[in-house]
Amino acid sequence: MRPVVEIRNLTKSYRRGGEIVPVLQDLTFDIADGDFVALMGPSGSGKSTLLNLIAGIDKPDGGTLLVGGIDITVLSEAELADWRARNVGFIFQFYNLMPVLTAFENIELPLLLTGLSGSERKEHVEAALAMVGLTDRMEHYPSQLSGGQQQRVAIARAIITDPTILVADEPTGDLDRASAEDILALMDRLNTELEKTIIMVTHDPYAARRARAIRHLEKGVLTRGQEKT
C-alpha cells in the first residue's frame, strides 16, 4: 500500500540575522496510511518544522513532500488552504479554539468550508462531540471548559472533516497527567478505531509510547531508524 506521507530529500532553513540556519537536511522517509507516528527530538531539532511542512502551513526549500499522493510543495497558497481544509486536522498544544465560539461552533468551523447544509453540519458536530465525550458541553465556551475538555473539543474539530492526516503539536504539553492520559487514549482510539493517520510531535516519552512508531530528529536529520513502540 502506498504511504500516505512520502518525504524525499526535504530541506528547510531559516534566516536568522544574516545567517542561514539549516533546520531540516535532506530528509527522506514515509509514513504509512493509518500509522501513528511520534516525532521526537530536542528543541531546535526540526520536528515542529517538519510537522508544519507535512501540514502544509510552511513551505520547504527543496525536496518533495507528497501527502495522499499530492505534492503539496508545488501548491499555491490558495490551493494549500483548500487542501488543508480537506486533508489536515490540527491539534495544537494550546488548543487554539476561538474563545467567542461555543464548543459546538468551534467544531463546526471547518465544516463551513465543505458546503454541507446546516442540518448536515449539526449531525456531524453532534457525532464528533459524542466521539470525544462532550455532548453535554456543546454550548460551553472554551473558558468554561477544563484544559482536557478544550483539547477534546480541538480533537473533535480536527476530525470533523474526516481528514487524511491528523497533525498534533505537543497535544498533551499543556495538560496534567490525568488529562494527558485521556487525550492520548482518545488519539489512540482515533488511530485504532477510525484508522486515522496521526503524526504527533512530543517531548514526552510517555506520550510517545502511545504511538505505533517513533522517529527521532536531531539537528534536522533522522538519527535512528523507525522505532516500534
Binding site: 502551513i57 510552511d58 488543508r84 490540527f90 468551523l109 471547518p110 463551513l112 447544509s117
Partner: protein, 392 residues
C-alpha cells in the same frame, strides 16, 4: 446554503462576538465615535447656519450700496433715480441702526426702513391689521417671530434701544410680529420707520440726515439682475457717491465672506475631529487584531482564506463605527436644538441638514473602513507558522 454563505453567516457571528469581547474598550470607542460624529455634525451645522441667511436671500432683489464701503451711506435722492432704471419695479430704503437692547450680548439687527419695504419681502408674513397699526405709529416697530420668542416680546410692548451709531435711547412700540414664510427665513430682526430715524437725526446731526444705508431694489426679471445692476451703477458713475449694486444673495455672501477664515477654521476642526477618532479607532482595531493573531493563524490553518480574516476585521471595525456613528447621528438634532437655545439665538436658523446627516454617516463608515485597512492587511498576510507562535 453554499460555502460562501455559510462562512459569511458564521463570520457575522464572529464579528459581533469579537466586537463585544472587550466590552469596556468597545464601549469607550463607541462613546468616542458618538462624540466625534456629534461634534462633526454640530460644527457643520454652525457653518450651515452661517450661510443660512445668505442662502435664504433672494436673487430677485438687488441691493445698491455705496461703492466705497458699506460704512458710507447714499443720498435719499438716489431713490427716484434708481426707480427710473429699466426693469426696476420698486425701491425701498434700509439703514442699519446698530442699537443695543439692555446689554450688548442681546445683539440683534435693527433696520430703519421705508414703508414699502415689506412689499419687497413677501417672505415676511404680517397680519394686515398689525401692518396698518405699524404704519399709523411713527414710533412703531415690527419684530420677527424668532426675536419675539427669544426675548418674550409681545405686540404693544415698548422696546427701548440704546443707539450707538445714532446716540440716545430710542423707544419703539411693537406694533406687529412677522413670521417667516418657511423655516429657512431668518426673522430675528427688528424693523422701524426710516422717517422716524431721519427726522430725529435732522434735529441732532443734520449733516447725517437724508441718508440711506442701502437701497433694496425690486426687479421685474431676475434673469436681468446683472444688466439692471450695471445700469443702476452707471447712473451714479463719476458722482460723489458711486454705487455698487448686486443681488441680495451676493450681498449677503459678501458679509459671510468677511468670516471666511473663521468658517475655514471651523471646517478644519470638524475634519480634525474625524481624523482623531480615526486614529483612535485604528489603534483599537490594531490592538484587537494583534491580540488575535493566533486565532487568525488558526483560521488560516483550518483552510479559511485571507479574505475571511479581512472580512472579520473590517466587519468589526465598521460595526463599531456604525453603532457609534449611528448614536452620534441620533444625538445630533436634539444637541443642535440645545446648542441653539444655549447660544441665545445667535443662530436663528440652526437646523441639521440632510446633507450633514449624510456626511456624518459617511464619516462613520469611512472611519470604520480606514481604521481596519492596516490591521486587516497585517492579519490576513501573517504567515501561519508565525501567527501560531505569536502570544495573544
Amino acid at each position: 446554503m453554499g460555502v460562501r454563505e455559510a462562512a459569511f453567516m458564521h463570520g457575522l457571528k464572529l464579528i459581533l462576538r469579537n466586537a463585544l469581547r472587550h466590552k469596556l474598550r468597545t464601549a469607550l470607542t463607541v462613546v468616542g465615535l458618538l462624540v466625534a460624529v456629534l461634534a462633526y455634525g454640530l460644527l457643520q451645522t454652525v457653518v450651515d447656519a452661517w450661510y443660512a441667511g445668505a442662502q435664504a436671500a433672494s436673487n430677485a432683489r438687488l441691493v445698491t450700496r455705496n461703492a466705497i464701503s458699506l460704512v458710507f451711506s447714499l443720498p435719499v435722492s438716489y431713490e427716484a433715480r434708481i426707480r427710473g432704471v429699466d426693469g426696476v419695479t420698486r425701491v425701498a430704503r434700509s439703514s442699519w441702526f446698530g442699537g443695543i437692547y439692555q446689554e450688548p450680548k442681546n445683539f440683534f439687527p435693527q433696520f430703519a426702513i421705508s414703508d414699502n419695504y415689506l412689499d419687497l419681502y413677501p417672505e415676511f408674513v404680517l397680519p394686515e391689521s398689525q401692518r396698518q397699526a405699524y404704519l399709523r405709529d411713527r414710533k412703531g416697530c415690527l419684530v420677527g417671530r424668532q426675536l419675539a420668542n427669544q426675548f418674550g416680546f409681545k405686540v404693544g410692548d415698548v422696546l427701548p434701544i440704546r443707539g450707538t451709531i445714532y446716540p440716545g435711547t430710542w423707544e419703539f412700540v411693537i406694533r406687529g410680529i412677522f413670521d417667516g414664510a418657511d423655516s429657512t427665513k431668518v426673522t430675528r430682526l427688528m424693523l422701524f420707520h426710516w422717517d422716524y430715524l431721519n427726522e430725529s437725526v435732522k434735529k441732532t446731526a443734520a449733516r447725517r440726515a437724508e441718508q440711506v444705508g442701502v437701497y433694496i431694489v425690486g426687479i421685474s426679471d431676475p434673469e436681468n439682475a446683472a444688466s439692471i445692476s450695471r445700469a443702476i451703477d452707471a447712473v451714479f458713475k463719476n458722482s460723489l457717491a458711486e454705487t455698487l449694486t448686486e443681488t441680495e444673495q451676493a450681498f449677503q455672501l459678501g458679509f459671510v465672506a468677511m468670516s471666511n477664515e473663521i468658517i475655514a477654521a471651523i471646517r478644519i476642526v470638524s475634519y480634525v475631529v474625524i481624523l482623531i477618532i480615526m486614529a483612535v479607532m485604528a489603534n483599537t482595531m490594531a490592538m484587537s487584531a494583534r491580540e488575535r493573531t493566533t486565532e487568525y493563524a488558526t483560521l488560516k490553518a483550518l483552510g479559511f482564506g485571507p479574505g475571511f480574516i479581512t472580512l472579520l476585521i473590517f466587519g468589526e471595525s465598521v460595526a463599531i463605527c456604525v453603532v457609534g456613528g449611528g448614536l452620534g447621528l441620533l444625538a445630533t438634532p436634539p444637541a443642535a436644538a440645545m446648542f441653539k437655545t444655549l447660544t441665545g439665538g445667535v443662530f436663528p436658523i440652526f437646523e441639521v441638514s440632510p446633507l450633514t446627516l449624510g456626511l456624518q454617516a459617511a464619516c462613520a463608515v469611512t472611519v470604520g473602513i480606514m481604521a481596519a485597512v492596516v490591521p486587516a492587511f497585517r492579519a490576513s498576510s501573517v504567515r501561519i507558522v508565525e501567527g501560531l507562535r505569536a502570544i495573544g
